[in-house]
C-alpha cells in the first residue's frame, strides 16, 4: 500500500475546558476524496484546521506525506517548525473557506496570481496565462478583471478554488465551501469540486451536502462530539449506517430536506 | 548635586502643574460650553449654518499658537491687553470649541433619525426633541472623543509657555536656564505631564471599551 497523504494520529484539541477533538485517527490516500459529515460543533472544521496547521492540536499529531505538521525532528528531539517551514508546508495544501476570504483589494485574476508570483516567485508573464486558464476552468474567464465585491458568492468561491489550485497543491481542503451560499449558487461550486475529484485531486471535504458526499466521495467520515463515530464507503454509510448516532443524524437531515423540498 | 536642585524646585513645579490643570479646566469649560450652540448653528440651514461652518473651518485650519499670538499680541494695538494666562485660556477655549462642535454634531447625527421622527409624532417641539430625546442619546458617541480632546488640551497648554503664560512648561524653561540643567528639567516635566495625562488616557480607553460593549448589547436586545 502507498504511503497515505494525510495521517492524523490520535489528534485532540481542547479550547478552554471543552474537548473539540478527541483521539481522532484518520488517513487519506493519494487521489482519495474523503467527505466529513456531522452536526455542527462536532469538530469537523477543527480537524481540517489542524491538518492545515491553522490550529495546533493539544495532543496527537498530523502527518502530510510522512512529514510531521508543525514540528521537525532534529537531533532526536522535536522542535516547533519555524514560520518559514510552516509556510513551505502550506504551499502544498490548498484550502477553501466557508467565507471565501478573497482579497478584496485585488481583482479575480490578481487573486489567483498572488500565490505563484509572490510566494513561488514566478514571473508575471508565466503566471498570468496559467491564472487565466484556471479562471476559465472554473467558468470565470470573463470575470478576470472584476473585484470580489462585484462577484456573487458562488463566483467568489470559484475564484477562491482557482486561487488555491494556482499553487498546484497535492491536497485540497474544503471547509463547508457551500454553507455561506444562497441555495441557487451551491450547484456551480459543487460542479467545480466534482470536476476536481474526477481529475484525481486528493480532497478532504467538510460538507453538509449529503448528495455530493454520496456521489463524489470515495469514503465518508461521520463525526460527533469531537470523535469519529463511523466511516466507510458512501453506499454503506448512507444506506445502512451501523451506529445509532449516525442513523439519527441522517434521519434528521433527510427530514429537514423533505421539509424544505415539500411544495 | 543636580538632584538636590531638582528636589528644591519641586514645590515650584508642582505649583506650576496646578496652573496647568487650572488652565486646562477653564479652557475645557469654554470649549464645551461654546461648542454646543456652535454645533446647533452648524446644523441649522442658511446664514447661521454657514457662519458656524466658517468659524469652525478657520479655527481648525489655523495653528493654536497663531491664535494665541493674535489674542495676546494682536489685540494690543486695539487697546486690549490681556494677561497671558487669560489669553491662553481664551485662545485654547475658542479653538477647542470648534473641535467639540464637530464632536457634538457627529454625536447628534449618530442618533437614529427614527428617534427624532418618533418624538415629533408624539407632539414634541424641535427644542424639546433635541433636549429630551436626541442629546441624551448622543452622549455615548460624544464622550470618548471629548475625553481625547481633554487629554490633548492638557498637553496643548504647554504651548501657552510661548506667550509666557505661567504654567508647567514655562516654569521648566525658567528653571532649566537658571541652573543649566535642561535635560533634567524637561525629562522631569515630561514625567509630570505623563502622570497627569496617563490616567486620563486610561479612563478614555475604559470608557470606549464599556460604551462599545453597551452598544453591542443594545443591538442584540
Amino acid at each position: 500500500m502507498t504511503e497515505p497523504l494525510v495521517r492524523a494520529v490520535r489528534v485532540g484539541k481542547r479550547f478552554g475546558a471543552t474537548d473539540v477533538l478527541q483521539d481522532v485517527d484518520l488517513t487519506v490516500q493519494p487521489g482519495e476524496v474523503v467527505a466529513i459529515i456531522g452536526p455542527s460543533g462536532s469538530g469537523k472544521t477543527t480537524l481540517l484546521r489542524c491538518i492545515a496547521h491553522l490550529e495546533r492540536p493539544t495532543s496527537g499529531h498530523v502527518e502530510i506525506a510522512g512529514e510531521r505538521v508543525g514540528a521537525v525532528l532534529a537531533g532526536g528531539r522535536l522542535r516547533p517548525m519555524t514560520d518559514r517551514e510552516i509556510a513551505r508546508l502550506r504551499q502544498g495544501i490548498g484550502m477553501v473557506f466557508q467565507r471565501f476570504n478573497l482579497f478584496p483589494h485585488l481583482t479575480a485574476l490578481e487573486n489567483v496570481m498572488l500565490g505563484p508570483v509572490r510566494v513561488l516567485g514566478h514571473g508575471r508573464a508565466e503566471a498570468e496565462p496559467q491564472a487565466r486558464e484556471l479562471l476559465r476552468k472554473v467558468g470565470l474567464a470573463h470575470k478576470a478583471d472584476s473585484y470580489p465585491e462585484r462577484l456573487s458568492g458562488g463566483q467568489q468561491q470559484r475564484v477562491a478554488i482557482a486561487r488555491s489550485l494556482a499553487m498546484q497543491p497535492r491536497l485540497m481542503l474544503f471547509d463547508e465551501a457551500t454553507s455561506a451560499l444562497d441555495p441557487e449558487l451551491i450547484g456551480e461550486v459543487l460542479a467545480v469540486m466534482r470536476d476536481l475529484a474526477r481529475e484525481g485531486m486528493t480532497m478532504l471535504v467538510v460538507t453538509h451536502e449529503m448528495g455530493f458526499a454520496e456521489d463524489v466521495a470515495d469514503r465518508v467520515v461521520f463525526m460527533d462530539h469531537g470523535r469519529i463515530v463511523e466511516e466507510g464507503p458512501p453506499q454503506t454509510l448512507f444506506r445502512s449506517p451501523s451506529h445509532p448516532r449516525t442513523q439519527a443524524f441522517l434521519r434528521a437531515v433527510i427530514d429537514r430536506q423533505a421539509m424544505t423540498e415539500a411544495p | 548635586m543636580s538632584w538636590s536642585i531638582l528636589a528644591e524646585s519641586m514645590p515650584q513645579l508642582l505649583q506650576a502643574a496646578l496652573d496647568t490643570l487650572r488652565m486646562t479646566g477653564l479652557a475645557f469649560l469654554i470649549a464645551a460650553a461654546l461648542g454646543l450652540p456652535l454645533a446647533l448653528a452648524r446644523m441649522a440651514p442658511g446664514l447661521p449654518g454657514r457662519l458656524a461652518l466658517g468659524y469652525i473651518e478657520v479655527m481648525r485650519g489655523v495653528p493654536q499658537l497663531a491664535i494665541l499670538f493674535l489674542i495676546y499680541f494682536g489685540l494690543v494695538p486695539l487697546g486690549v491687553a490681556l494677561h497671558a494666562f487669560t489669553a491662553a485660556v481664551i485662545g485654547l477655549g475658542l479653538s477647542g470649541s470648534a473641535y467639540l462642535a464637530e464632536v457634538y454634531r457627529a454625536g447628534v447625527l449618530a442618533v437614529d433619525p427614527g428617534q427624532r421622527e418618533a418624538a415629533q409624532t408624539i407632539g414634541m417641539q424641535r427644542v424639546q426633541v433635541l433636549r429630551h430625546v436626541v442629546l441624551p442619546q448622543a452622549w455615548p458617541a460624544v464622550l470618548p472623543p471629548m475625553g481625547n480632546y481633554l487629554v490633548a488640551l492638557l498637553k496643548d497648554t504647554s504651548i501657552a509657555s510661548i506667550i509666557s503664560a505661567p504654567e508647567l512648561m514655562l516654569r521648566a524653561r525658567d528653571l532649566s536656564s537658571e541652573y543649566f540643567l535642561p535635560m533634567h528639567y524637561y525629562l522631569l516635566v515630561g514625567g509630570m505631564y505623563l502622570v497627569m495625562a496617563w490616567p486620563l488616557m486610561q479612563g478614555v480607553r475604559v470608557l470606549e471599551r464599556r460604551l462599545a460593549r453597551g452598544r453591542l448589547q443594545g443591538e442584540t436586545r
Binding site: 509556510a87 473557506f97 500565490g115 509572490r118 | 510661548i162 521648566a172 535642561p182 495625562a197 496617563w198 488616557m201
Partner: protein, 218 residues
C-alpha cells in the same frame, strides 16, 4: 493704512518660512509613518516583551506634550553633549511623537482586516511577514487613510511649535518680523491666512479620502 500696504514687503520672507514649514511637516510625517508602521505591527507581535515595549513607546510619547519632547531634543541633549540643528530637532521630534500616534492608527487598521484574510494568505504559503506586507497592510492602509490625512493637517499646524526651538519656519520668521516692525495684527493675520491656505486643501483631500474609505472595501 500704510501698515497693511507693507505686507507685500514681508510676504517673501513669510513665504520662505512657509517652505520650511512644509519641510518640517513632510519630514516629520515620513518619519512618523515609518515608526508608526513599525510600532503598530509590533503592538501585535508574538513576543510579550516586544509588545510591551511598543506599548510603552506609544503611551509615553502620546502622554507628553510634543513641545516638551522638542525641548528635550533641542535643549536637553546639549546637556549630554549632543547638539542638534533646530530643523533636525523639529523633524526628529515630530517624527518620533507622530510615530506613537500613528502606531495606534495603523494598529486599528490592521485589526479591521478580517482574520480570514490572514488565514487565506497563510494557506498560500506566505510567512507572517509576507502576510502582513502583501495582504493585511494594503487593506489596513485604506482604513487608516483618513486618520493619516487628519494627522498631516494637525502636524502642519503643530509645526509652529518648532519656532520655540528656533527653527526658521513661518511662525518663527513672523515673530522676528513683529519684533522689528511692531505690526503684530497685520503679520499674524497674514500668517493665519497662509496656514489656512495650506491646511484647507489638505482638509478637502481628507474628506475625499474619508468618502472613498466609506464607500466600500475597494
Amino acid at each position: 493704512m500704510n501698515a497693511w500696504g507693507r505686507i507685500g514687503e514681508f510676504l517673501p520672507v513669510l513665504l520662505a518660512g512657509a517652505v520650511t514649514t512644509v519641510e518640517i511637516t513632510a519630514g516629520g510625517f515620513l518619519i512618523a509613518v515609518a515608526l508608526g508602521l513599525l510600532a503598530g505591527a509590533l503592538l501585535g507581535a508574538g513576543s510579550r516583551a516586544v509588545r510591551a515595549a511598543a506599548r510603552v513607546y506609544v503611551d509615553v510619547f502620546r502622554a507628553v506634550p510634543v513641545l516638551t519632547q522638542l525641548f528635550i531634543l533641542y535643549f536637553g541633549l546639549v546637556e549630554i553633549g549632543v547638539r542638534l540643528e533646530p530643523l533636525q530637532a523639529a523633524i526628529l521630534g515630530f517624527g518620533i511623537n507622530g510615530g506613537a500616534y500613528l502606531a495606534e492608527v495603523f494598529r486599528a487598521g490592521i485589526l479591521s482586516v478580517h482574520h480570514g484574510q490572514t488565514e487565506a494568505a497563510q494557506m498560500l504559503g506566505m510567512t507572517r511577514l509576507a502576510v502582513l506586507r502583501i495582504v493585511v497592510l494594503p487593506q489596513a492602509m485604506r482604513v487608516a487613510l483618513p486618520s493619516l490625512a487628519n494627522y498631516a493637517i494637525g502636524l502642519l499646524k503643530d509645526s509652529t511649535l518648532a519656532s520655540a526651538v528656533a527653527a526658521p519656519e513661518l511662525m518663527f520668521l513672523a515673530r522676528k518680523l513683529v519684533d522689528r516692525t511692531f505690526l503684530g495684527p497685520q503679520i499674524f493675520l497674514t500668517v493665519a491666512v497662509i496656514y489656512l491656505a495650506m491646511s484647507l486643501p489638505l482638509g478637502q483631500l481628507t474628506r475625499l479620502a474619508e468618502a472613498r474609505a466609506g464607500r466600500g472595501r475597494r
